[in-house]
């Protein structure tokens, strides 16, 4: 701004602020009113509505969490979006690999630690060119981390499998 109160030597500072505000308003209006679906995805990006089945692996929990997850039910994220319903729960002992004194590698179970695999079905998923999107606009792929809760348990884990059911 110069000593005459002009920006770039031409525009009055008040006009400049007005222009910036108008531009920001237009951007805001565009974001607000360009159609999106319930998952927050631009409608133009959606290829199709799909039903997804994905497996969330939760590593190293105690039996109390396993028991709570076995009650199944709907899973939600911290914002309250439903991320699907648990249809199957499997668990195995958590294993660790170690080497015996004679150099033999062995796998042994870690006491009281389990790996849980939740199969979750999500009816309201979307498929775009780039990703699968579940409720709340969360894009998932094998390897994604998800934090969620059921009625009885909190859990966070990694997506290890995704299948499109229909």
């Amino acid at each position: 701004m110069d000593k005459n109160g002009k920006v770039f030597g031409k525009i009055n500072v008040i006009d400049f602020v007005a222009i910036v505000v108008v531009v920001l308003s237009l951007i805001g209006i565009a974001i607000r009113f360009i159609p999106r679906d319930s998952a927050g995805v631009w409608v133009e990006d959606i290829r199709e509505d799909v039903k997804l089945s994905y497996v969330l692996e939760i590593d190293g929990v105690r039996i109390f969490s396993v028991d709570a997850l076995k009650k199944m039910g709907v899973v939600k994220d911290s914002r309250g979006f439903e991320l699907g319903e648990i249809v199957n729960v499997e668990y195995t002992e958590k294993m660790t690999q170690t080497v015996l004194d004679d150099g033999t590698p062995v796998k042994i179970p870690i006491p009281e630690r389990y790996i849980v695999r939740l199969t979750i079905e999500e009816d309201d998923a979307r498929e775009t060119d780039k990703s699968y999107i579940i409720s709340g606009g969360t894009a998932i792929t094998v390897g994604s981390s998800l934090t969620m809760h059921t009625r009885y348990a909190n859990c966070s884990g990694k997506v290890v499998d995704i299948k499109k059911i229909k």
Binding site: I14, D15, V17, A18, V21, V22, L24, S25, G28, I29, I31, R32, R36, G40, V61, R62, F64, S65, D67, A68, K76, R79, G80, F81, T98, L100, D101, V106, I108, P109, I110, P111, E112, S135, G136, G137, H149, T150, R151, Y152, A153, N154, C155
Partner: protein, 171 residues
């Protein structure tokens, strides 16, 4: 210097207000649809596991005692039962290539079952204004002691939360 309020000033004010409204709407886009949940009060018990307390700690506690379970507001629940067991630890033994389990001298593990008239909704059990879930950390304290454990079990005492869904659906 006195300045006149011009049409441009009025325009700027209107645009700023419009921007604020749009901004608020944009933020709201990322919230799930507000659902008024059916709820009902019902007696529940929940168990908190506190590992590694001093042996004999349970003598300080008895069924019927009121304990505070929040750091901020005064929310009290009632102790239903306290079970003290020797603390067990698992230690990996290199030479054997396996874990052995041993008890830790002078230390105990406490299972404290608490009871309260909780609010039950479709989403879970609310105690002290917050949902409680297995795995949540929970403080338990009185003026005599303070412990921190985590929730290992929630028992709704036969309450069928699905009836709340039906009630909501009928409306």
């Amino acid at each position: 210097m006195k300045k006149k309020f011009t049409l441009i000033d009025a325009g700027i004010i209107i645009i700023v207000l419009a921007l604020l409204v749009v901004g608020i709407n944009v933020l709201d886009l990322w919230k799930p649809e507000e659902v008024v949940q059916e709820e009902e009060k019902h007696g529940v018990t929940f168990t908190v596991l506190c590992d590694s307390v001093d042996e004999g700690f349970s003598k300080r506690m008895k069924a019927g005692d009121k304990v505070k379970i929040t750091y901020g507001d005064d929310f009290y629940v009632t102790i239903d039962e306290v079970i003290e067991e020797p603390l067990k630890e698992h230690k990996y033994i290199d030479s054997k290539g396996e874990y052995i389990t041993h008890t830790v001298e002078g230390k105990s593990s406490l299972r404290i079952r608490l009871k309260d008239d909780a609010i039950i909704t479709k989403d879970g059990v609310i105690v002290a204004n917050a949902y409680i879930r297995v795995g949540d950390s929970l403080p338990i304290y009185t003026k005599e002691y303070a412990l921190v454990g985590y929730i290992i079990d929630i028992d709704e005492k036969g309450f069928d939360y699905k009836k709340l869904e039906k009630k909501g659906g009928e409306e």
